[in-house]
Symmetry: C2
Subunit: 233 residues, 2 copies
DNA sequence: AAAATAGTGTCTTTAAGACAATATAAA
DNA sequence: TTTATATTGTCTTAAAGACACTATTTT
């Protein structure tokens, strides 16, 4: 509750990050364990206060580096939503600008200064255990997931999850993980080859027939959306 | 680097509104003329500082009521983006959360407390005269327009521009105004009748054959996007 | 040769694109 | 009856859905 004499409009501003990756065919989100009060010991999204000399993107990339020791050039960062509900933070009027990031499969993060731990958590597990997240981070992850799913319909950004080069099957597994559905391999392949470029290499370390490798082409935004329709469901 | 003694993260937070309507077949945005410094006398979006006891939506609706004397129940309000670049406001660190609103054709707004004037301005004219808007409101309007155009592809929210009941032609004129293109009447009609409900009335005050009236059905989000393709272009 | 995985052919179905003719009112 | 606007019919074309078979590698 605010009882002081601050002029209207003064708030404390944080930036929180919902960083997604796909590991072992499942969508994961990066969670830290809070090292400080409030919600000490609870899982939360990485984030922190905006500094005087930073814009939002810079703050987001700084937090990202601090929490994951990852250089931001390989990932995709996008502003998600701003959360300002009264009472969302017990310390007073704290507003957060949430960012969404898509990352290729990364090394396990090393906990940073404000975090007692950091780990990749499967999104479905996180969202099926409502009670445990700090602040309104459950809502942020819910909104972020919805945004990621929509991004895969209208853009080629799913390729960011795969890193530099990848096979069509690997890309399909990304879509299947994010959308939680099985896709028809033939129809999927026909569609994504419209925006992929072949690479003169093959995936050698597999069992069966070696797969061709591709990289993302210049297209970022699709003319028409990717079909999001399950085989089974 | 912190150059004053405020704790990290303290900013002043405003809410700005990009309120759109369609009048005379053209998309308009509500602009005020600033009554106070900085940018006194320049056109700007309506908006103002967040108050202690408000969340963002409440502040947006309050600003809307103050500037237009409109009740918010008939319009659609959606958070657009948060702007926090250094130097965007000469008064210091001011961050704004921009909202987007779609409104039916309204009475001419009455200037409120902070505004010397208020008017509906054609969006194309506003965006072709870069220099004149206060703060980064040119960028906000640009982003808002892009969002409105995308909304019309994936949702039925264009009906909000038309008020309660409307003809298919009136709805088509909305799409044509927002997208700046001509659409095929037959194909457009076939598509939108999928989410409209007929009303037992007709438009009587016209010249030619009276048109059937419709209202928006329960669908808000479209399974597949509206085709956004011009006849001429 | 058996197992594992990658890659392709093609028919059907759905919905958009491109047309122009007919219907119903007021003037 | 002329003018103005609304409404509808249908053929063509583009792309998704639904199939199952062939290809290339390792073991």
């Amino acid at each position: 509750m605010l009882t002081d004499r601050r002029p209207a409009g003064f708030v404390r501003l944080t930036v929180d990050l919902a960083i997604f990756t796909v590991r072992d065919g499942r969508l994961h989100v990066l969670l830290i364990e809070r090292g400080n009060s409030p919600h000490k010991g609870q899982p939360a999204l990485p984030g922190g206060f905006l500094r005087e000399d930073e814009d939002l993107e810079k703050a987001a990339l700084r937090e990202l580096a601090e929490e994951t020791h990852l250089d931001g050039s390989r990932l995709l960062l996008e502003q998600l939503h701003t959360y300002a509900d009264l009472g969302r933070d017990s310390r007073g009027r704290v507003v957060t600008v949430a960012y969404l990031a898509l990352a290729p499969d990364l090394p396990v993060p090393v906990p940073g200064s404000d975090a007692a731990a950091a780990r990749w958590a499967p999104v479905d597990e996180v969202l099926s255990s409502r009670d445990r997240l700090a602040f309104d981070h459950f809502d942020i992850i819910t909104d972020a997931l919805e945004r990621v799913r929509a991004m895969l319909e209208t853009t080629t950004h799913a390729t960011v999850f795969c890193g530099g080069t990848f096979t069509v099957t690997e890309l399909r597994l990304v879509y299947e993980a994010v959308w939680s559905m099985k896709l028809d391999p033939r129809n999927f392949s026909r569609r994504v080859l419209e925006f992929l470029e072949p690479v003169e290499e093959k995936r050698t370390d597999t069992h069966g027939r070696p797969a061709k490798l591709y990289r993302a082409g210049p297209t970022r935004v699709l003319d028409r959306p990717m079909a999001r329709r399950s085989l089974d469901a």
